[in-house]
């Protein structure tokens, strides 16, 4: 037996279980991002409309998700969906739903910001050549907004990945939950295991998020020139 405790990581199928947990974390983040970005694009477009009630409602939606911490959002969905609306979803789907709605709120603001900073003459030229409102968004505004919003979107993605660490709170078998099981199962034989298991999870998150934030930084610098 070693005194370092690193052997806990590789004993039995521990390492592959941790990787499996990491995969759960990643697919939940990806799915939530995908749904949230699509929904957020539409909400962001609607926030540039002239209709006041629509803008007000979407603004309130955004502010709600900004004020309530994600932990609380997760518990709201976890307790309220089954009890009030009789919707019994597995915890993974509750998480995807919550994160997607949160991403949509945050992304709607990014999209709105990018859309209104597309030069005004672009919109007017589009209207002048007879594009419909939808064509204007589809062919003129959204493609131009995309480059502007890309760095902020990638930053949002790193936040989503970090936020998935909360999944263990609603008992999703994510990388942290599996790590805790391994720690508890090996607590007697490897009291130091806890240090290495949490260390590895720390490293996992870093490995996923670091390249993304590096990319966001590069794109941001490129945008400013």
């Amino acid at each position: 037996m070693d005194h370092l405790g690193t052997s806990v990581l590789f004993a039995g199928n521990n390492f592959s279980r941790l990787l499996g947990g990491l995969w759960t974390t990643i697919w939940i983040a990806l799915l939530a991002l995908l749904i949230g970005l699509i929904l957020g694009t539409f909400l962001g477009m609607m926030r540039t409309f002239k209709n006041r009630p629509v803008r007000l409602i979407l603004r309130l939606y955004l502010e709600f998700f900004r004020i309530v911490p994600t932990v609380v959002l997760l518990f709201l969905a976890y307790y309220i969906l089954p009890r009030q609306l009789n919707i019994n979803l597995p915890a993974e789907q509750v998480a995807v739903l919550t994160f997607a709605l949160w991403v949509a709120a945050e992304f709607s603001d990014i999209v709105r910001g990018a859309l209104i900073s597309v030069p005004k003459h672009q919109r007017e030229s589009g209207l002048a050549i007879g594009l419909t409102h939808w064509q204007l968004f589809r062919y003129v505004l959204l493609p131009q907004a995309l480059t502007l919003e890309l760095p902020a979107t990638i930053n949002l993605a790193t936040r989503v990945v970090k936020t998935t660490s909360l999944l263990m709170l609603i008992s999703v078998m994510d990388v942290i939950n599996i790590g805790q099981q391994i720690i508890e199962a090996n607590g007697q034989s490897h009291p130091n295991g806890i240090f290495w298991v949490y260390g590895l999870i720390f490293f996992f998150y870093f490995i996923v998020d670091y390249p993304l934030s590096l990319l966001a930084k590069k794109l941001n610098a490129a945008n400013q020139h």
Partner: protein, 219 residues
């Protein structure tokens, strides 16, 4: 909804409220101090130290607070460093917030326009005078929006303290739900409690941002 349940829980929520406010306050002050020191050392490009600071910033920004707290609270005792939950919360928030604040300050310092710096040089200011009288006053005002966004972010992050059983707002609510099984009332109170902290604060911060906008003039 049962108003009796809500009334009965108010004292407990007030306790949680105090813990959240107190930990946010010291955590944010800690983060501002760490952030300012880090950004200054990076601004002056102090050799080696600024490399270490870059590594710290990347490490802290790209990992979740939850794992940072678990590491502090559960893994550090193994190597002989046993800290109380509250102290871990403070250290965790300062560790996480320090990097965010540092990036905010750096963004401000680097945003000061070159004409200002050239003008300072032209009237014969030394490097230190430039920093003291030109770059910092303007940089601080430029970093204000990012700083206030970080303050709001850090207060929300204190909700994660509930995982190491610090009796702040979220932990209080989850405890009460566990005991009395009334999720509606307690979750509503929890959302309202965060709104009571964050809505007035974000209004005050917006006003403050407008007040100190002088840095963006003359750009």
């Amino acid at each position: 909804m049962d108003t009796n349940i809500i009334q009965a829980a108010i004292p407990k929520f007030i306790e949680g409220f105090k813990v959240t406010i107190w930990l946010s306050l010291i955590g944010i002050i800690g983060a501002l101090i760490v952030g300012l020191i880090c950004s200054l050392l990076q601004y002056f490009k102090v050799p080696i130290v600024s490399k270490i600071i870059s590594a710290y910033i990347e490490l802290s920004r790209n990992t979740p607070l939850l794992i940072q707290l678990f590491f502090l609270y559960y893994a550090f005792p193994v190597i002989g460093l046993k800290l109380s939950a509250t102290f871990c919360g403070f250290i965790g928030l300062t560790f996480l917030g320090g990097s965010y604040m540092s990036e905010a300050f750096s963004g401000g310092f680097n945003g000061v326009s070159n004409t200002q710096i050239d003008a300072g040089k032209a009237i014969g200011m030394s490097r230190r005078q430039l920093a003291r009288y030109v770059v910092f006053p303007q940089g601080l005002s430029l970093s204000m929006p990012a700083l206030s966004a970080n303050i709001i972010f850090l207060i929300k992050e204190t909700s994660i303290f509930s995982v190491i059983a610090i009796p702040e707002l979220t932990n209080t609510a989850l405890d009460l739900i566990g005991i009395y099984y009334r999720s509606n009332e307690y979750l509503l109170m929890l959302v309202i409690a965060y709104a009571i902290i964050l809505i007035p604060l974000s209004i005050v911060l917006t006003i403050l941002e407008r007040r100190v906008r002088y840095g963006s003039f003359g750009n």
